[in-house]
Each structure stands twice: as structure tokens, then as C-alpha cells.
């Protein structure tokens, strides 16, 4: 990790900056033909990329341009990964898989509910462990049928997390239906003149 920055003597031109702007905004890897289309002239993209990478190093900018999937893509340098990851692990930033979220939705709406009922709705067996660990759900008792299965429901933390004063503030299925059935508007560009 030696930060030996040397002045490379690269003169940064407007073409460099435009290529940067294209790289920053691009969703797909950037190719020479993309750049030539935008700049309306021939460009030796490889050279510019080489120089930009050198400049980033010189400026201590944590970005790296890489050749990926037949074009150039810009990556955040992994140098500070450990520090960055704290941003995502901070308290309250609960991360869930989509199946956990599905399970949570069922429990929120159907509580108190048994695992068998949850599985029946999802069509696959569900893991409740993560949700229990994150204190989004808790055991509410047992259902009085043979086997006395556990009943699950959401916690106070769940309410807090979504700013609900109580469960009746969850949108009702009927309300959701009304919204879902709204046709999607067209006129993507507005009617402004």
C-alpha cells in the first residue's frame, strides 16, 4: 500500500474529462466506439484509460478503471473495503434476503401464524431464524391443535422500524389492490412544451 505518487506529467485534457464523465455515468462497459460516437472523433481509448488510472493514483482517488466484459468499467478501489463495510453493518441497517422479507410480510399480515401456514403461502419451507435473530418477529404462543405448533408475530421493533404506531396502520389488502390495479400512466415525457 505504499502511496508513492509521482508526478507523471500527464496533461489532463478535456477529452480525459469527458471520458471520465462517460465512465462515471455508464451502466454498461464503455467501448471505444461509444466514446467516438460521443466525441465525434477518433480516440485511442486505451491510452486515455491508462493515463486516467495513473492520474487517479497520483491524485489519491480511490477509483480504478478496469477492462471488463469487452469494455471499460470503473470500480471503487478495494483499498478501504473494511472501512466501507461498516457503513452497511451499522445498526438499523438490517439486511434481509428476499425470502426472509417474504416471510416477514406473511407474518406481518397473518399473525399470529404457524410455520406451516407460512410455508403454504410461500410454497417452500421458510427459515425464521434470521427474522428471530434480528428481533423482527417473536414467538407469540402455541396453536391449540395437535402438535401445538408455535405461533409467530411481529415485534415492537418491527413497528418501530417502519414507523408504525400499531399494526392496523399496515396497508390493507384492499387498499393495495386499489393501488395495484391502477393502470400505469403513459406519457413518459410529460406534456410540457
Amino acid at each position: 500500500m505504499a502511496d508513492t505518487t509521482q508526478q507523471s506529467g500527464i496533461e489532463k485534457t478535456e477529452t480525459h474529462s469527458i471520458i471520465e464523465a462517460l465512465l462515471y455515468s455508464a451502466e454498461e462497459p464503455l467501448t471505444e466506439s461509444h466514446v467516438e460516437l460521443c466525441l465525434e472523433k477518433q480516440v485511442d481509448l486505451d491510452k486515455y484509460i491508462r493515463e486516467l488510472n495513473q492520474l487517479y493514483n497520483e491524485y489519491k482517488i480511490p477509483l480504478v478503471i478496469q477492462y471488463i466484459a469487452k469494455g471499460y468499467k470503473i470500480l471503487v478501489s478495494d483499498k478501504y473495503n473494511e472501512v466501507i463495510s461498516r457503513l452497511y453493518q451499522r445498526k438499523g441497517n438490517v439486511k434481509l434476503s428476499s425470502s426472509a422479507l417474504e416471510t416477514l410480510a406473511i407474518i406481518a399480515y397473518k399473525q399470529p401464524v404457524t410455520r406451516i401456514d407460512i410455508d403454504a403461502i410461500r410454497g417452500v419451507s421458510s427459515y425464521l431464524k434470521t427474522l428471530l435473530e434480528k428481533k423482527l418477529i417473536e414467538i407469540k404462543g402455541r396453536l391449540d391443535i395437535p402438535g401445538r405448533p408455535l405461533l409467530y408475530g411481529t415485534t415492537n421493533y418491527f413497528l418501530e422500524y417502519f414507523g408504525l404506531s400499531n399494526l392496523s396502520n399496515l396497508p390493507r389488502i384492499k387498499e393495495i389492490e386499489n393501488i395495484v390495479k391502477e393502470k400505469i400512466e403513459e406519457e413518459p415525457d410529460g406534456t410540457k412544451t
Binding site: 438490517v94 439486511k95 434481509l96 428476499s98 422479507l101 393495495i176
Partner: protein, 239 residues
């Protein structure tokens, strides 16, 4: 036809009335009701004759205008105390002023949108194992939870009827099938891959094939939101 405008640009009856008021420089506090009713009805007629969709609210507004017109025609002397008589137009004026306020607000928002749209989002790849595109609850709203639940309700698996069929499909075949989509492109939606597949099992095997391809790092998968489309992106292995 006196309308130098596209006929369907109005957001609603109030918008149309405001248009008349501006076009004819009408004092909003003293609207000539007969005149504006005539204009309004004419517009409705044109819309109807052109068979353009007209929201029911336009008809309701036409009724309101005519009601006001009738009230205006009633001689004042018929009612006893002059002081308390409210101008029959007051309610309409209030509605127009209130609506106009937010129309103004919408213009502000449009200006902000245009200004901010010029700043593109950065699309940097974050190569951090702890920062994968998994779902953070902070991006999830109550409505998302509700929608998700509703979606599941709509797709509760039906009772299974077992029908034994020989299936001529395997993962390797589906891998080839998937690869065939990437001849001229680098990114494709999962939905598009399975578009013409009919049986469930084929979809499942196709999905397994995708998992296999992800494992061997031929493709990567990303999703913008929980029920957003799943995108398959070709990775470059020659690196």
C-alpha cells in the same frame, strides 16, 4: 374549432377552466359563468365527437357550472336578507385557486427536476463482499411489504396434481440455451429468457442453470429492487 391546443392535455376540469381564464384574461373573482359554461360544454362536445376519452369529472363539472348559472339567474329580491347571500361562484373560485396553487407547485418541481436531471448518478462498481446488492430493510417501505404479501396471495401454489411426464431437459442443455441469448448482448432480463418457456420444470431447470453459470462466474446477477427484474450480466472471464 377555436382550440389551438392539443385537446387532451388537460389534467382535469379545473385545469381546463384555468386555461379559459388565462386565455381570455378573465378575472377569477368575477367569472362570467354563462360564457365559461358555453366554452366548457363546447370542449366536451368536441372531445365526445372525436371519441376521446373524457373523465366523468368533466361531466360533473359541467353540471356544477350549470347549477351556478341557474343560481346566478335567480333574482336577488327573491331572497330576503341581502347580506348573507353568498356568491354562487365562491366554491368554484376556491377550488380553482386551490388547484392553481399546486399547479404552480408542480411547475417548481418540474424546474427542480430538470435542473437535477443534468447531474447523472455515478455507476461505480463496488467490489466489496460486505456490500453486495442484497436487500437492506431501509429501502423497504410498508407498501412494499403489503405488495409483496399481495403478490404471494395471488400466487399461492395450487394443490399439486401429480402427473408423470418424461422431461427432456437438463442443466447442460439450458446452459447452452442461456448462452445463446448473449451472442450480441451482455445483459438480459431473466424474464426474457423464460419468456417462451411453458412448463414450470423447464423454468426451474433454467434457473438452476443460471445458478450454475453464476457459480462458475460466467454471469453475474443483479436486481434493482426486491420485486424488480433480475438482470443477468455477462462477465469477462479472460481477465
Amino acid at each position: 374549432m377555436s382550440y389551438n391546443v392539443k385537446l387532451d392535455v388537460f389534467e382535469g376540469p379545473l385545469d381546463l377552466l384555468l386555461f379559459f381564464i388565462q386565455r381570455d384574461e378573465i378575472n377569477i373573482y368575477d367569472i362570467p359563468i354563462s360564457y365559461i359554461t358555453k366554452e366548457f360544454l363546447e370542449y366536451i362536445n368536441i372531445m365526445q365527437s372525436l371519441k376521446l376519452h373524457l373523465a366523468g369529472e368533466f361531466l360533473a363539472m359541467a353540471a356544477m357550472l350549470m347549477r351556478i348559472k341557474v343560481k346566478m339567474l335567480l333574482p336577488k329580491s327573491l331572497k330576503n336578507d341581502d347580506e348573507d347571500i353568498e356568491d354562487p361562484r365562491t366554491e368554484l373560485v376556491d377550488m380553482l385557486l386551490e388547484y392553481n396553487k399546486y399547479k404552480e407547485g408542480a411547475k417548481h418541481l418540474r424546474a427542480l427536476e430538470e435542473k437535477q436531471k443534468k447531474f447523472n448518478n455515478v455507476n461505480f462498481i463496488v467490489n466489496n463482499d460486505d456490500v453486495d446488492p442484497d436487500i437492506f430493510l431501509s429501502n423497504i417501505s410498508l407498501m412494499d411489504i403489503g405488495m409483496l404479501f399481495k403478490k404471494m396471495l395471488d400466487h399461492i401454489p395450487k394443490d399439486k396434481i401429480y402427473e408423470v411426464k418424461k422431461i427432456k431437459i437438463n442443466i447442460n442443455k439450458q446452459i447452452q440455451f442461456i448462452n445463446s441469448f448473449f451472442i450480441n448482448r451482455k445483459k438480459i432480463k431473466f424474464k426474457e429468457i423464460i419468456k417462451n418457456i411453458e412448463s414450470r420444470i423447464e423454468i426451474i431447470v433454467t434457473f438452476l442453470a443460471i445458478l450454475e453459470l453464476i457459480k462458475i462466474k460466467t454471469y453475474s446477477v443483479s436486481q434493482n429492487s426486491i420485486y424488480g427484474d433480475m438482470w443477468l450480466t455477462q462477465l469477462n472471464n479472460q481477465e
